[in-house]
């Protein structure tokens, strides 16, 4: 191993989804945690990991119950003062792990945490880690006991990195946790929830306009809830729009507990597919959406960019607000080239690999997590523009955009915004780092 492993889209498509080479499968090799991957390779490392996501419930605080090592990086999250004041730690020592005695201390710790807060928290989220996964801790029971003792809702958040590729990975589980405090309410037909992200959609997303045009009066996102009362009002929704498949489990739980059905939409960058998705959504809710003006605007943004900067050759990463393979396919279909994709190939996106292979067979696919990426040499690439924070790490000298802002792009507005910021990066109007 002395050079980065890659495979062309054509080679990968020919092998098929059941014969993905081990170099692209994280379970088959050691995992390289390069600076390119830190945000998504650790369920608590950066961005919206379990710890920060668990605090999506307005007014809540988090008590991390774990060995000190699991809470260490929270100091980085704590640089934001408003977050720092919401994290508390009950540290496990060796004896705790052997005897489980720390569980008996949790109710008292929850009470002490609540008493120390200037304003009583709306809920205490208990974050537990691999340790309790292996100990088989019944944290639901411990939380009930703590709730009774401290007089505040207490909710478990499972930061079980060991189960990342299991049935209930940490980022799926935590989405269920943050909606678990919703209690049954009378339904309001003109009310809809958007599930999937821990930060709001871009304000200019046409999704809001389209839903309003279909008679929806109230659209709630957990990140826009000003307080716990508004959060609780999410229980009145007529249906949930699921924009990230990691929220499927939470949506299923809400269906079961609160009888709120859900509709799933994907974040896409191919405008014809976005149009198709809106058509199907319209059919589901009994409305005909007029999305043509939004589509025209997005396609104009692409055409303007193409006219001004030509057929750029992109490197696309996976630390960004997109599926790297779908975004790459969209770029290729719009007349651009994609020379490299840094991404994780799986069942859900292999379909894009096959389409990329048909249009751009030589596109190279790398796995960010492969140990061989230690030897990646960007000088061998012919890309000239970069999308994704990880791809920017590999190509520090090239113009690019991280495209991983917290406000979430979606639909046509996301397409327009992407080409706007790419244009800014290429014209030097905006710092790209």
């Amino acid at each position: 191993m002395n050079q980065a492993y890659s495979i062309t889209a054509a080679e990968l498509a020919a092998r098929g989804r059941d014969d993905i080479p081990p170099e692209l499968l994280s379970s088959a090799h050691l995992i390289y945690s390069s600076p390119a991957t830190l945000a998504f390779n650790s369920p608590g490392a950066q961005g919206f990991g379990v710890k920060r996501a668990g605090l999506a419930v307005p007014g809540s605080v988090m008590l991390l119950v774990a060995p000190a090592c699991c809470g260490r990086n929270t100091a980085a999250l704590g640089c934001e003062a408003s977050l720092a004041e919401r994290f508390f730690y009950l540290m496990q020592d060796d004896t705790d792990i052997v005897t489980g005695r720390h569980l008996a201390r949790i109710p008292e710790a929850v009470k002490e945490v609540c008493d120390s807060c200037a304003k009583r928290p709306s809920a205490v989220m208990i974050c537990i880690t691999c340790v309790d996964a292996l100990l088989g801790t019944d944290m639901e029971r411990v939380c009930r006991k703590a709730s009774d003792y401290a007089g505040v809702p207490v909710v478990p958040c499972y930061m079980y990195a060991l189960t990342r590729e299991g049935r209930l990975p940490p980022m799926v589980s935590v989405r269920r946790s943050v909606y678990s405090l919703l209690q049954p309410r009378e339904k309001v037909p003109a009310s809809v929830n958007i599930l999937g992200f821990f930060s709001p959609l871009r304000d200019d997303s046409e999704l809001y306009t389209l839903l309003n045009s279909a008679g929806v009066r109230t659209i709630r996102e957990i990140s826009r809830c000003a307080d716990f009362a508004e959060y609780q009002a999410m229980a009145e929704a007529n249906f949930n729009l699921v924009l990230n498949q990691e929220a499927r489990h939470a949506a299923a739980d809400l269906r079961k507990r609160l009888d709120i059905p859900s509709i799933e939409l994907a974040r896409l960058y191919q405008t014809d597919k976005i149009a198709n998705q809106y058509r199907l959504l319209g059919q589901a809710v009994g409305a005909a959406f007029d999305d043509a003006p939004h589509r025209e605007q997005a396609e104009k943004a692409i055409a303007d960019f193409h006219g001004k900067y030509g057929a750029r050759t992109f490197a696309v990463g996976e630390w960004l607000n997109a599926d790297p393979f779908e975004l790459s396919l969209a770029l290729i279909r719009n007349g651009f080239s994609v020379s490299e994709i840094f991404g994780t190939v799986g069942g859900s996106n292999f379909v894009y690999v096959k389409k990329i292979a048909a249009l751009s067979p030589d596109t190279k696919i790398y796995s960010n997590l492969s140990p061989s990426m230690m030897f990646y040499d960007g000088r061998e690439s012919d890309c000239d523009t970069v999308i994704g924070r990880d791809a920017m790490y590999y190509h520090p000298g090239l113009p690019g955009v991280p495209w991983n802002e917290e406000q979430q792009p979606f639909g046509y507005a996301g397409v327009s915004a992407l080409f706007d910021v790419l244009g800014n990066a290429l014209s030097g109007k905006e710092s790209t780092r």
Partner: protein, 353 residues
């Protein structure tokens, strides 16, 4: 509650210390975890990760690996990564997961050496202890593995043990420590882990003396003394200029210094040199070696105990990482002299010359 942190966040754990100790020696380091610990170490506790491409990997353990104890799979992955890499050795670092499933690190070491044909180091860190314990164990294991030959003593060579960014808040701390020792007359300074690499470790027995700059280096210094007869002294030859500049104002006052013990002792010595009537106590959240403690020095056991010591201690000033201020009552004023400690706050000084 002793184990509850209400204002501070946890300090660097033992596994971070072990990786920090081994980071510059040209080995392949595998953190025996599911991914989160590696994210913490690489993303937070190892500032050199962002300026150099080190070979630090996660074992990527999954639940069935832990349940079934599939060490053979780990070693097979390790071999794949080592093959053709040109790396000199492998190191496997423990975390809570192997601690809970009682991984046999001695067996892992033997398996890794057999499969790769290269030396392997294992450090049975658990994630429940502080960084200095892990660093201490890693350094000792490194020197036991590679410093095996007794060489002729070179009177111009000095070794520095216990230096890492976790203890000294500057990426160029190795250079700064070395420069200070060269000013003292040493011709060659081997600052292990911050400048001096594996070749220097292999020839460690040639050093005329070892300087121990943090408690994490003490066990190795004792080992080298016992094995090769190399004498050692505890001495911290460099302190940040911003700290030194603040010390004259503390002469004759009652001061508490909180840092790693040997750096804190150096601050105390500097204050006493200014005015021997000063009252200076040293405290640490980390290892406190009894033989280097003075009357009034103490170990900080908890956030509560820290607050009580400062609030009721009657100190005119506290030299410590200013991030610790967040635990103190906001309604009271405290004279805090900032001495960043990366293992506490993850803060480095701006470039120090």
């Amino acid at each position: 509650m002793k184990s509850l942190l209400k204002h501070l966040s946890p300090f660097a754990p033992d596994q971070s210390g072990a990786v920090s100790a081994l980071f510059e020696f040209g080995g392949l380091i595998v953190i025996c975890d599911a991914g989160g610990c590696t994210g913490n170490i690489c993303g937070f506790d190892e500032p050199r990760w962002f300026t150099s491409r080190g070979a630090v990997f996660s074992a990527g353990l999954r639940d069935m690996d832990a349940i079934l104890g599939r060490d053979d799979r780990l070693v097979a992955k390790l071999k794949d990564a080592m093959d053709g890499s040109g790396l000199a050795f492998s190191a496997i670092i423990g975390t809570p997961v192997p601690a809970i499933i009682a991984t046999d690190f001695k067996a892992l070491k033997r398996m890794a050496e057999k499969r790769t044909g290269l030396p392997a180091i294992t450090v049975a860190t658990t994630g429940t202890r502080h960084y200095d314990r892990g660093a201490s164990d890693a350094w000792l294991e490194l020197f036991k593995t590679f410093a095996t030959e007794k060489l002729e003593n070179d009177p111009g060579v000095v070794g520095v043990l216990g230096a890492s960014p976790l203890d000294f808040p500057a990426l160029n701390a190795g250079k700064l420590l070395s420069s200070a020792l060269k000013d003292d007359g040493w011709k060659t300074v081997n600052c292990y882990g911050m400048g001096a690499g594996l070749d220097a470790v292999k020839t460690a027995s040639a050093a005329a003396r070892n300087i121990v700059v943090s408690p994490a280096g003490l066990a190795t210094a004792k080992y080298l003394q016992k094995t090769f007869g190399t004498p050692y002294e505890v001495h911290c030859p460099w302190l940040p200029p911003q700290v030194l500049d603040a010390l004259p104002a503390l002469a004759g006052k009652k001061t508490l210094v909180i840092h790693q013990q040997f750096a804190a002792n150096a601050v105390r010595d500097a204050i006493l040199n200014l005015d021997s009537a000063s009252q200076v106590a040293v405290a640490s959240w980390f290892m406190m070696e009894p033989e280097f403690m003075h009357d009034g020095d103490f170990q900080i056991e908890s956030e509560e105990a820290f607050v009580e010591a400062i609030v009721n201690g009657g100190y005119d000033a506290v030299v410590c990482d200013s991030r610790l201020r967040t635990a103190l009552p906001r309604t009271q004023a405290f004279n805090i002299i900032d001495f960043p400690h990366f293992a506490v706050s993850g803060r480095l000084l701006d470039e120090v010359k």
